[in-house]
Symmetry: C2
Subunit: 276 residues, 2 copies
Amino acid sequence: VTAKAHLPIGIFDSGIGGLTVVREVHRALPHEDVVYLGDTARVPYGTKSPETVTRFACEDAQFLVRKKVKAIVVACNTASAWALATLQSQFRVPIFGVITPGAQAAWEKTRNRCIGVIATAATIRSRAYQVAIADFDEQAKVIACPCPLLVPLVEEGWLEHKVTQAVLQEYLLPLLREKVDTLILGCTHYPLLKSAIGRIAGRQVALVDSAECCARFITEHLGRAKLLNPQRDRKGRIHSYVTDDTEHFEKMADRFLGFPVEQAWKVELPALLVKR
Amino acid sequence: VTAKAHLPIGIFDSGIGGLTVVREVHRALPHEDVVYLGDTARVPYGTKSPETVTRFACEDAQFLVRKKVKAIVVACNTASAWALATLQSQFRVPIFGVITPGAQAAWEKTRNRCIGVIATAATIRSRAYQVAIADFDEQAKVIACPCPLLVPLVEEGWLEHKVTQAVLQEYLLPLLREKVDTLILGCTHYPLLKSAIGRIAGRQVALVDSAECCARFITEHLGRAKLLNPQRDRKGRIHSYVTDDTEHFEKMADRFLGFPVEQAWKVELPALLVKR
C-alpha cells in the first residue's frame, strides 16, 4: 500500500447527478472518504460545446487536486466523453471516466452484439461510447439516441409520471425497433429512471448503469495501484462542495444518493493554472 | 436628442431565449442597433440561486457597458427578478427588466383581477411578478406556477408535440381552476408555446408576452430620455455575442428571432470590476 492510500477519492460532476456514482462507490468501498464537487452554478454540461465542457472539467479537477485526493472520478458522462484525455494529460493523479466501464459492461452483457446508448446530446455527439465499444468488439452495432428531456424530468421528480412514460417511449422505440438487447444508461440521472425504462424496454433488454460499472472499475484499478485504504473497519465520509447555493443541493441529494448528505460547502472555482 | 442616441441598445439573457426580446425590440425600433449577449456557457439561470444569478447578471451587464451601449435590457426573467435592483445600483446606464412591463400589461388586461404567472422556478420563488402586480393593484389575486419542463421542451423543438400538450395541461389546470383571465408568459422561451398554451387556456384567457410588453416599455422610456436614434431611415444591425460555441447559437437563433442571425462571436466574460 502506498502512503497516498489514506487520502480521499475525488469525484466531480456538472451538478447533483454524480451522486449516483458516489452512492455506488460508497457501496463498493464504504471505508473510503470521498470529496465530491458538483458544478451546480454552471450545470448542465450536456448541452454545451466540447471546448467549454473541457475547460469546466479542468477547473473541477484542479479543485479536487488541491483537496489532495488520491484519484479522480469524472462522474459526468459528458465530461468523460469530451475531456478525459485532456484531464489525464494535465494532472498527475489517476483519473477515471464512466464511458469505458459502461462500454465494457455492455460488451460483456450483449448476446446479439446490438447495443443501445441513451445520453445527453453532447455525449452522443462525441461518439465516445461508440469508440469505446468498438475497442472491445469492432463488429458490435451501436444505436445511440440523445435524450435531452430526461434530466429535466428527473429533476422535476416525475420518475413515474405518464409524461415521462410518453417521452421514454418516443426516445426508446427506434432503439427497440433495431432489436438492441443491451441499453447503456449514459447519464448520471438515468439510473433514477431504471424502472420506467425497464417497463418500456422489457426484460429481454439488459440495462447497464454506468454508475455501478464505474464503481467496480475503480475498485479494481485502485486495488491494482495499491491505492485502496487498508483500514477497512472505518466508515468513510462524504464531503460535498458545490459552486451554487448549498440548500437546493442538500434538499435534492438523497434522491440521488439514497441517504441524506452531510452539510455541503459553497466554493468558487479559481481560473485554471495548468497550461492547456 | 443626446449624443448617446446613436449608440446601440444592449440586451442580455442567460442563453438563446432572449432573442424573443430582440425580435420585438427590432420590430418596434427597426432603425436601432442592438448588441446581444447570451451567456450560453452557463445557461440556464432559472434553476439557480439569487446570489449566483446576480453575479452572472452583473458580469453580463459589465460586458455590455464596455461595448458602449446607451441602455441595457435584461431579457431574462430570472435575472430581471433577482438582479435588477443590484444592476441599477452598480451601473450608470439605464437598465430595464421584463417584469414591470409584463405586470403592467397584465394589470391593464385583466377584468376579474385574477392573474396567472408561469415562469422558471427561480422567477416564481423571487415573487417579483407578485410584487410588481401589487404595485398596480394591491387587491389583484396572483396565481403563480413554476414550469421547469417548458424550456427543455422548447429547446427540443417539441412545440406542438402531444407530450408538450400533456405537460402544459398539468401545469395550467390549477391556474385555470382558479379562473385566471390573464396569463403572463414569464420566461423568454414561452412565446414559442403561445399557440399550444392558447389551445389549453382558451380564448377567454388573455396571454401576456413579456417580450412584446418590454419592447413597448423601452420604446417609451428611451423616447422620454431622448435616447432614441433620430436616423429613422437606417436599418439597425444585431451584433450577437455568446459565451459558448457560436454554431449551436446560430443554428437555433431563427427559431427565436424569426429570421437568421448575423455571425455571432464567442467571448469570455471577465471577472467583475464593479464593487458588490
